[in-house]
């Protein structure tokens, strides 16, 4: 107290300002933790409810915990099959969208062709177009082609939805290779094969990984197309979650499935955050 009395007024004020900023930061930390943490915490709580010891108002957390809900979901619902479907479609969709995107991304990233802006917008269409409209009327196209209710149809649909991310991110990384590097390689006698192997592939690798992660999560999350084209023959995690949240709302099942669906994605987020420049994040979000 004595110390502050001896301090000049402006120094006291400065301290106050510092403390004020600290308070603001703390405020945001708490708000954000609550904002993101509480919903996830509640889902975890619901997935651990003991079916013999109901959790109801006015308890803020369940009276006792058990893994019964998890056991139930795996034993008595289609979740295991849905998991298998989801995780077999996703890698195929990622690979297919990579193969389809690669040549296009190269051209869009490295060539200055007429109408490039239009192509870049067209490539975004699956992301911009309202999902349900595309789903419903693509199902008509798929009907004509005999792709409805088929595994191949689902893979194609998921590929379509993940391509905007793939192309945007890979185009950005192709475009970010300095022409000097390529010229230098050619100058030193690199042929096409060497150029691809030693210049292009290593330099687009971060973009490629980012693109694949985005494509993968897109496929895992895809709901509209899967719901219209795949159900009831194929169920993925999102469609099964939807069925738990529909007219017969089973909160405990839904929380188990939610956690199953969300965990890999959050792990992906931290991979992306740790290893990749955030440029890729914004590139894939398609700043128009």
């Amino acid at each position: 107290m004595d110390k502050t009395m001896a301090m000049p007024l402006y120094l006291i004020k400065k301290r106050r300002i510092k403390r004020f900023y600290l308070m603001i930061t703390l405020f945001f930390v708490i708000i954000q933790l609550l904002w993101v943490g509480i919903p996830i915490f509640m889902a975890i709580m619901w997935s651990l409810v003991n079916p013999d010891d109901a959790w109801s108002y006015p308890n803020l957390i369940p009276p006792s915990f058990s893994l019964e809900q998890w056991r139930y979901v795996f034993n008595y619902t289609n979740i295991a099959r849905a998991l298998k479907t989801s995780y077999s479609i996703a890698p195929l969709a990622v690979i297919l969208s990579f193969l389809l995107s690669l040549p296009t991304s190269y051209v869009l990233g490295r060539k200055d062709i007429p109408g490039k802006k239009v192509f870049m917008l067209v490539v975004l269409l699956p992301m911009i177009m309202p999902g349900m409209v595309v789903a419903l009327f693509l199902s008509r196209v798929f009907n004509l082609m005999g792709l409805s209710q088929t595994f191949l149809g689902l893979v194609l649909a998921h590929t379509l939805m993940s391509m905007p991310y793939m192309i945007r991110v890979m185009t950005t990384s192709f475009a970010s290779i300095p022409q000097d590097v390529i010229d230098a390689a050619e100058n030193l006698g690199a042929g096409t094969f060497v150029k691809i192997k030693d210049i292009f592939l290593p330099m687009i690798r971060p973009g490629l990984i980012a693109g694949m992660i985005f494509a993968f999560t897109t496929s895992i999350e895809e709901f509209n197309l899967t719901f219209i084209i795949g159900t009831p023959t194929f169920e993925t995690i999102p469609t099964i979650l939807y069925s738990f949240m529909g007219y017969n709302f089973i909160r405990t099942n839904a929380s188990v499935v939610s956690l199953l669906m969300m965990t890999p994605n959050i792990i992906m987020l931290f991979i992306v955050e740790r290893f990749l420049k955030s440029d890729y994040l914004s590139a894939s979000l398609g700043k128009m």
Binding site: L9, Y10, K13
Partner: protein
């Protein structure tokens, strides 16, 4: 208009002392330049005056008011930024009127002031343009117009010319100086360009490592540097150590490594006999083939660089290298032996 005073000013950034106990008084209407290498604390000092930084110790006075706690928007200063910092989304007119709007000046009064300033800086045609459509020189003038239109107490310049090409730089600095004189506004100008500082200032403050090395008018700073740093930083200088052999009034005989020199310390602090001193002189003080000066030096030319009006000479005297200049018409080439005379008043005695 106001006087400006900094007393015992200190500013830290974490562990780095950017400004280290600075005292400075600037008279009303004076043009003072803070000059020094990058990282010397000149910009920090300027930004503390503007209010972007609050001092850790010491005070900033405008007139007799302590400004330490006054936020930048409540201080009547106007700053010209190195990047110009024009508002890219506003027209030239809106940029210039911004400060007046903030002061809630009636529109009719604003109009008169803005038109006068734009006239003065020949911007009248450009009012509707956006900054992105202007050349560098025009942007510079808009920035200047924007800062003087509010008629601030103190004008602050943060290397305002460093983004212009050499020719324009000379032209604009003349304009700035004229404008400041005409309006009589106190001005603090930050630069690392010594030519600019010498050309524009009433007084120059040389800064190094957060401290003031020397304050003086351009002539004094150039002719009589007080420290080794100032001598080396402003212009070219030959700096040597020597032992004072004899003192006679203000005249000292000094034993330097390359030979004895006679220094007249008139107007400077006269050293004691037996003291070791640092001293310096300018290359242009070495008058070629001048037999009248007290100090006579003969050296071998190591390298002669022809610059047009003068020839830069790198010479060796008794194994010690020094620089000289020749405006003699005779061509000098490496290997020549040349004699020089140095006047006894040409030397500056330096502090550490």
């Amino acid at each position: 208009m106001a006087t400006l005073k900094l007393t015992n000013l200190v500013k830290h950034f974490d562990d780095v002392v950017a400004v280290d106990h600075i005292d400075l008084e600037v008279a009303d209407g004076e043009f003072v330049t803070l000059l020094g290498p990058s990282g010397c604390g000149k910009t920090t000092t300027l930004r503390t005056i503007a209010g972007f930084y609050y001092p850790d110790e010491g005070e900033v006075y405008f007139g007799d008011r302590i400004m330490n706690n006054i936020p930048p928007n409540k201080r009547d200063t106007a700053m010209c930024f190195q990047s110009y910092a024009l508002f890219p989304h506003m027209s030239v007119w809106d940029n210039i009127s911004f400060g007046l709007k903030m002061r809630k000046m009636p529109a009719s009064e604003q109009k008169i002031k803005i038109e006068r300033v734009m006239e003065m800086l020949s911007l009248s045609e450009l009012g509707k343009r956006k900054p992105g459509q202007l050349s560098g020189g025009q942007q510079q003038r808009v920035a200047l117009a924007r800062s003087i239109v509010t008629e601030p107490e103190v004008l602050l310049f943060d290397e305002p010319l460093s983004n212009l090409d050499a020719k324009l730089r000379v032209q604009v600095r003349v304009e700035i100086r004229e404008m400041q004189k005409r309006l009589g506004i106190t001005a603090i100008y930050v630069t690392h360009d010594q030519d600019e500082a010498l050309a524009i200032s009433d007084r120059i403050v040389i800064m190094e490592q957060g401290r003031i090395e020397q304050i003086g008018d351009p002539y004094t700073i150039y002719r009589h540097p007080e420290t080794q740093f100032v001598a080396g930083f402003i212009g070219l200088a030959n700096i040597f150590d020597g032992v004072v052999l004899e003192v006679e009034g203000t005249r000292c005989t000094v034993q330097a490594p390359f030979g004895n020199v006679l220094i007249n310390a008139e107007g400077q602090e006269v050293p004691h006999k037996g003291a070791t001193i640092h001293f310096s002189w300018r290359p242009e003080d070495m008058k070629i083939r001048d037999r009248t000066s007290k100090n006579q030096i003969t050296g071998n030319v190591l390298q002669a660089v022809f610059m047009g009006d003068i020839t830069d000479l790198f010479i060796e005297v008794n194994g010690y290298k020094m620089r000289a200049q020749s405006d003699d018409e005779a061509k000098i080439v490496a290997g020549d032996s040349v004699s020089f005379g140095i006047a006894e008043h040409a030397f500056s005695i330096l502090r550490e």
